[in-house]
Symmetry: D3
Subunit: 219 residues, 6 copies
C-alpha cells in the first residue's frame, strides 16, 4: 500500500461519500462498519473525514468540578482528528457543545461524532463545525455525565472504534474504517466512484439499467 500523508488522506476521503466507502468495506468482508443510523449530522450539508480521537464517558451525578476529565481530553485533541464520544447510552445530556467545539477548532480537530446528544446547536452551526449525534438537548453534562477516559477503545453506534480508525460521515450517516485498511479502502472507494460516474452517465443517456448491471456487475 502506498503511504499517503494525513492531509491528503483526509482531503481525498472528504471528497468521497460514505456510501462508496461502505461499499468498499463490504467488498472486504467488513459488513458491520456502519454506525447506528440514528447518529446523523446536524444538517445535511455536514461532512467529516479523519482519524478518530476517542473519548469515553458515563452517567455520573456528582457536580464536583475537580473530576471532569473531559477538559483534559479537549486539550489533548490533535490536528485532523475527529472527536468520537462513547456516552455509555446516556440519553438526556447534550454531551458535546459550543465550548468543546471551540476547543476542538483551535486544536485543529475537524469534526465530532457523538453517540449521544449535542447542545448549543445554534452556536455550532454558526461555526460550521460538523457534528454528528443521536439527538439534541440543552442539558449540561455537569451533574449528569462525565468523561472518564480518552484515547482508548470505544464503541459508537454498535461499531468498535480504536484511536486512529478513520471516521467518514456525511448526510447518509457515519462509517468507520479500521486503521489497517485506511489506504486500501480509500483506493477501492475511489474506484467505486469512478465506475459509478460512468454508469450514471449511461443511465442518464437512457440505457437499460438491467443491461448496465449485467455489464458492470454493480448498481
Amino acid at each position: 500500500m502506498p503511504d499517503i500523508p494525513i492531509e491528503e488522506l483526509c482531503a481525498r476521503y472528504r471528497r468521497l461519500y460514505t456510501a462508496a466507502v461502505a461499499d468498499a468495506l463490504d467488498d472486504k468482508g467488513q459488513w458491520h462498519q456502519i454506525v447506528d443510523r440514528r447518529i446523523q449530522p446536524l444538517t445535511l450539508e455536514m461532512r467529516v473525514a479523519g482519524p478518530a480521537f476517542t473519548m469515553l464517558g458515563r452517567p455520573e451525578r456528582s457536580t464536583d468540578r475537580a473530576i471532569r476529565k473531559g477538559v483534559k481530553a479537549v486539550d489533548a485533541l490533535r490536528p485532523h482528528t475527529v472527536a468520537v464520544m462513547d456516552c455509555s447510552g446516556e440519553e438526556i445530556t447534550g454531551h458535546w457543545g459550543e465550548l468543546l467545539t471551540n476547543g476542538a477548532l483551535v486544536r485543529g480537530a475537524t469534526g465530532a461524532v457523538i453517540d449521544g446528544g449535542t447542545r448549543d446547536v445554534a452556536a455550532i452551526l454558526k461555526m460550521g463545525f460538523p457534528v454528528f449525534s443521536k439527538f439534541r438537548s440543552p442539558a449540561d453534562a455537569k451533574g449528569r455525565w462525565n468523561v472518564v477516559d480518552f484515547d482508548c477503545p470505544v464503541t459508537i453506534g454498535g461499531v468498535p472504534v480504536a484511536p486512529g480508525d478513520f471516521i467518514v460521515g456525511d448526510a447518509d450517516g457515519v462509517v468507520v474504517v479500521p486503521r489497517d485498511l485506511v489506504v486500501e479502502v480509500l483506493l477501492e472507494a475511489e474506484e467505486v466512484v469512478k465506475t459509478e460516474t460512468e454508469i450514471r452517465q449511461r443511465v442518464k443517456d437512457g440505457q437499460s439499467v438491467a443491461k448496465l448491471y449485467m455489464e458492470y456487475k454493480r448498481f
Copy 2:
C-alpha cells in the same frame, strides 16, 4: 366523475397539500390512508404526487449479482409514477440511492416513497428528486436486501398500496388515495382548500375562531 388526464391530475394534486387530501379521505370514511409518520421527506421542501409504481423486497444475504430484480424494476418505471418500496421492515440498508434516482428520472418517474432507508442523500438533493423514507443509511442493498417483485400489492407504513393508487407527499408526510377515489378526493380536497382560504382570511381579520367554526363546521 369527470375524466382528468394524468398530467393534470398530478399537477393539481401537487398544488394541494397532504393535510387537505387527508381531510377529504377522512370525510369518505377512509381514516387509515396516512402512512406511518416516520416516513418523511429528505427536506421540508419536497413534494410528490403521482400514481404508485410498487416494488417489494426482503432481507437477503446473497451477493450473487444475477438475482437482483431491482434493476428490472427501474427499467419498468413509467412516466408520472412514484416509486413505492415495501422493504419488509429491514432497518439497516439504504434501499434507495443515486443510481435508482437517475434511472427513475430518465424514465419520467416523479418521486420515491421508501418504507426503509435512503443512501447517496447528498447526490439526490442535488438532483432535486423528492424522496420520502424512514431513515438514511450508507449501507448498500447488495448482500443485505433484494427486490423480489414489482407492480404488485405492497404495504408501506401500515397502508396497503396497489399499483395505480395515488401517492401524495409533502412536509407533513405521505397519504395514499385508493385508485377508485382519485378524482373524487381531488375535487373534495380542492373544496377543502377553498374553504380554508376563506376561513384563513377571516381569522387574519381577527374574527372569533369559535364563531367561524360554528359557521363553517370545520377548522
Copy 3:
C-alpha cells in the same frame, strides 16, 4: 427580585439560548425542567420564549363538531404567550396546524410547543411562526383527538407546566422555567452567557481548556 415587564422578559429570554437557561435551572436544583428531547423545532432556526398558555386534549373518535373546545382555546390565547399542548400521548394526529397558527398570530401569541404532531408544515414555515413538536402528520384532529380543557395544569415531555410558567425553546429543544423563578433564572442565565463569552474568547486564543475550567469552575 426586580420586576421586569413582560415584553422585556420575553425579549431578553429570546436573546439567551436554552442551554444557558438549563444551566441556571440546574444550579437552583431544578434538574428536571428539560422537555423530552423528541420535542424539537420544525427548523433549526426557530426560537421561542414566553409564558405558557396551556391546552389539554385526549383521543376522541366523535366527529360531532359541537364539542371541539380547541377553537375556544385559540380565541382565548393572550399576547406574548406560547401555546403549550398536552396531547395525552396520542401519536397519529397533527394536533397543531395552519389555522391555529393564524389564530395564534392574530392574538399575539409567539409560538407553540406541542407534545404531539404538527400538520400544514409548509404553510406554517411560510408564516415564520415557531412550532416545536414531536412529529409531523397530515392527520386532522377531527375524529381522532379533541381539546378538553385549557388554562389548566398539563405535562409536556415529562415536565409539568402550569399557566404562566415560562417556555424557552431553540435548536437544542425546550426548557420550562417555573413561574416563581422566571426573573431569577433570567439573571443567572445572563451571567452564564457572559462568563461563557469570556471563556470562549480565551479558548479561541488557544488557552488550555483544563486551566480555564479550573479558573472558572465551568465549561
Copy 4:
C-alpha cells in the same frame, strides 16, 4: 341505573374480563379507555377491579426526606380502591414497591396500576397483591422521583383517570370505566359475556363461525 354496593360492584367486575368491558365501552362510543398496552400485570394470573385512588408524581433529584408526599398518599388509601400512579413518564425508578404494597393491603386497597416501574417484585408476588406496571426496576424513588399530589386527575397510559373512575385489569391489560358509566358498562359487559358463552358453545359444537356471526352480529 340500579344502585349497586361497592363490594358487589368490585366482585362482579372481577368476575368479568377486560375484553368484555372494553367491548361494552366501545359500544357506548368510548373507544379510548384502554390503557397503553405496555402496562401489564406482573403475572398473567393477576386481576384487579375497583375505583381509582390516584397519585401524581414527577422526577425530582432532592433526597430531602421531608418532602415526600407519597407516604401521606398511602395513609389516605381507601378500602376497595386501586392505586393509580401517573409517573410523568419517568422511566428509571421502581415507583411502586413492597412497603407501599403493605400499606395498601392494610388499608384495604385491592391493587395498583402504575404508569411506571415496580420494585421488590419477588416480595410483592409472595403477597399476592396485583400490580400492573410498564417495567420492573430496583431503583428507589428517593432522589429520583416524588409524589406531588393525590386524589387528583391524572393520565395513565394515555387515558385520563379521575378519582372514582373504575379500573379493571387482567392478563390482557387495563381499561378505565368513567365513573358515570360504571353500572351501565357492568350490565352491558355481563350481557356480552352471556352471549359469548352461548356462541362459544355453538362454535365448539362445530357450527360455522360465519353463520353464528350473522346471527349474533358479534364475534
Copy 5:
C-alpha cells in the same frame, strides 16, 4: 427427499426446537427466516409446528358487521395448520382472541402466530392453545381492524410467509421454513440435535469446549 405425512412432519418438528431449525436454515443460506423477536409465546411452555394458514388484515374504522372476512377465514382453517396473521402494523387491537381460538381448535388448527395483539389471554391459557403475538390488548377488532384476505402471501415480523410454509415456534420465538425446504430442513435439524446431544454430554463431562468446537466445528 422422502415424503413424510403431515401428522408425522408436525410431530417431528414439534419435538425439535426453533434454535435447531434456525441453524439448519442458516446452513442452507436462509439467514432471514427468523420472525421479529417481539413476536413471542404467551407462556414459555408454548410450542407450535405446522403449515401456515395465512390471514391479512388492515386498520378499518367501520363497524359494519357485514364486511368482516375474518369469520370466513376461521371457517376455512384446516387441520394441522397454524393461523398466521399479518396485521399491517396495527398496534392497538387484540387481533386474536378466545372465539377465534375455539373456532381454530374445532377445525384442528394447532396454534396461532400473530404479528399483532392477543386478547382473552386468560381464557386462551385455559384452553392450552399456543398463541404467539407481539403484545396483549383487550381492544376488539370491530371498529379498529378487519381481515381483508386469507390463504394469501403475507409478511410477519419481517419474514414473508406463503400458505403452506412451515411455522415452528417455542420459547425462543418463531421461524418460518419455506415450503420447498420443509423435509430437508427437518432432517438437517434432527442431525443438529443429535450432534448437540453428543457435545452436551461431553461438555457435562468437563471436556474443553474449545477442543469440542475444533472437533465438531459447531457450538
Copy 6:
C-alpha cells in the same frame, strides 16, 4: 472492611434483593449502577449474585469457525462467577444458549447477564441456570456475531463492568457493585433489609406510614 470469603459473599448477596443493594449504592453516591431495565431474568424466580466474568463481542458475518473466541471464554469461566456479555448492541442473535450454559455449569459459574439475546430457552429453564437478557431469539451467533475478547472492561445496559465487579440480579433486574465496594455495600444492604423488616411489621400492624417515615427517614 472485614474480609469475607467468596462463597459467603455470594450466599449473603443472594439472600438480599436487588432493591436493597440499589439503595445501599445510592447512599454511597453510586446512582448509576442499575443496568438498563430491559435486561430481565427469563423467569421471575431467577436470582443471581457473583463476581463478573466479562465477555465482549461484535457483529461479524464470517462463518469461519477458526475465529470464535467464545469457546475459549467458556473454558476460562471461573467458579462463582457470573458471565457478563457485552454484545455491542447487536439485536438479532441469541448470544447465550444451552451449550454455553452447560459449559458454565461444569465450571461452577452461577449465572449469566447478557446485554443481548438468549436462545435454547426451554433447555436452559430445565437446567435451572439463571439467565438475564434483553430478548429471546433462536438465531445462532455463527455468521452474525462473535466474541472478540474476555476478562476485559465492558458496558452492559449502560453500566461499565470490570472483571470482579459484583453482579446481583433478581425479578427487579440487575445491579452492579463496583469491586471496591462489595463488602461495604453488602453490610449496608443487610442493614437496609433489617430496617425494612421492622417497618414492614409496623405497617402491617396498621401504623401510619407517614409517621414511620418520619421516624425511620426511609420508606
